[in-house]
């Protein structure tokens, strides 16, 4: 790593830090309940949930929430704010006691 004059950082270099392994839970989106309203996207503190176009029906776009598990810290805010309760927090497999 080379430190530049004035120690200037390049934008979005934090993407190198994959924070996805921080949490014990991760959100699972129920695609049938999700209306693609975008509330979770507005609240997510880690910018890792996004409403994306998945298809089209009668000329109308169908949008669903999609989680980027590389960065999700598993805080559970998306599940809390979801108006249709389409997001459930699930324990990761590695933390399950057999």
């Amino acid at each position: 790593m080379k430190i530049t004059l004035g120690a200037v950082s390049k934008p979005y270099t934090s993407l190198k830090m994959k924070t996805g392994d921080w949490g014990t839970h991760w959100p699972k989106v129920d695609e049938e309940l999700c209306t693609g309203c975008g509330t979770c996207e507005m609240f997510c503190p880690d910018m890792c949930i996004e409403v994306v176009k998945v298809g089209e029906e009668n000329g109308k776009e169908i949008k669903k929430a999609k989680v980027n598990y590389d960065y999700c810290k598993g805080c559970g805010i998306c599940a809390e704010v979801c108006p249709t309760k389409a997001i459930k927090m699930e324990l990761k497999d590695i933390y399950k006691v057999i």
Binding site: S9, K10, P11, Y12, S14, L15, M42, N68, C75, A79
Partner: protein, 292 residues
């Protein structure tokens, strides 16, 4: 990169600061120069070679964010580059109400075209919950620990809105992370004014307040619904808008979900403080006409 603030920053899970920051940057469409004093936000987003920012960003020291912003604004004016973006300060409550209050007062006084945003998490949470001027009374912090005699912080939460209004600031508002659309609207409205602007955003802190990571939004909403954190908006010194509350809740509902207030329910002086907080909430409701 829709929000001009990227994933991979080092905030605790459930932190409210990124919610406030990303919605402000989204509202301003990334057209801004961000100044950030020392605090949680600096620690989480600007480690060297791990910057989360997608907008020009500068960090100087704890007390001079307002002065740095004033300098940037003056330079933009002198170079004729004012159309390139707004100058925005994201400061914590300690940097605003205690350490940086001198520079802030100077900036307000000279009326620089700067939007000053105070991210109010009600203590110095970066160093582990020390009391600041914006800590509410009764809160258990490491510098006001609860014991036989001391029931948490003694004194009042500083009224920074009145401080800004006394300087003749043209746009003063409070917001809460529970209402991001409100944050976006207020940020957009603020930059329409020429001169200094002040917005205070209530940001619950997961570790300092002792709440679960998924309760951030719930607790922020409770603070508004109990009238302990009234959402108000002043334009040119006059109250123009408030968020009305349908059914005001008793302050106990807000207090009992947080670890920093749990002693109030068993401490001998606890009842007194709860009554005092309820009185503050009642006064807020009366003063701003919050009840519907």
């Amino acid at each position: 990169m829709k929000f001009f603030f990227s994933s991979g920053h080092g905030a605790c899970p459930g932190c409210a600061l990124p919610i406030a920051v990303k919605n402000v940057l989204y509202a301003l469409e990334g057209k801004c120069f961000v100044v950030n004093p020392t605090g949680c936000l600096e620690i989480i987003s600007s480690q060297y070679d791990r910057s989360a920012w997608g907008v020009p960003y500068i960090h100087s020291v704890f007390e001079n964010a307002a002065a740095v912003a004033a300098g940037i604004e003056a330079a933009l004016k002198a170079l004729g580059r004012k159309d390139e973006g707004h100058v925005v300060v994201f400061a914590g409550d300690g940097a605003t109400a205690d350490i940086g209050i001198g520079c802030l007062s100077g900036m307000f006084d000279r009326d620089h075209d700067v939007l000053y945003i105070c991210l109010d998490n009600e203590a110095y949470q970066n160093t582990g919950n020390q009391q600041s001027g914006l800590t509410p009374p009764g809160s258990n912090t490491t510098t006001t620990p609860v014991g036989k005699l001391l029931p948490g912080k003694v004194g009042k939460k500083k009224d920074m809105v009145a401080f800004a209004l006394a300087h003749g600031v043209k746009y003063v508002a409070t917001a809460s992370v529970a209402y991001p659309m409100d944050i976006r609207r207020k940020a957009k409205r603020a930059v329409e004014f020429e001169g200094a602007k002040y917005i205070q955003i209530h940001c619950p802190c997961v570790t300092g307040w002792g709440i679960n990571s998924n309760e951030t939004v719930k607790v922020a909403k409770l603070a508004v619904e109990t009238a302990l954190y009234p959402l108000v908006e002043y334009e040119n010194g006059e109250l123009v808008r408030v968020r009305k509350i349908k059914q005001r809740k008793p302050v106990e509902e807000y207090l009992k979900v947080q670890r920093r207030f749990r002693h109030l329910f068993k401490h001998p002086k606890g009842k007194e403080i709860i009554e005092m907080l309820q009185k503050i909430a009642d006064e807020n409701a009366k003063r701003f006409g919050l009840d519907e």
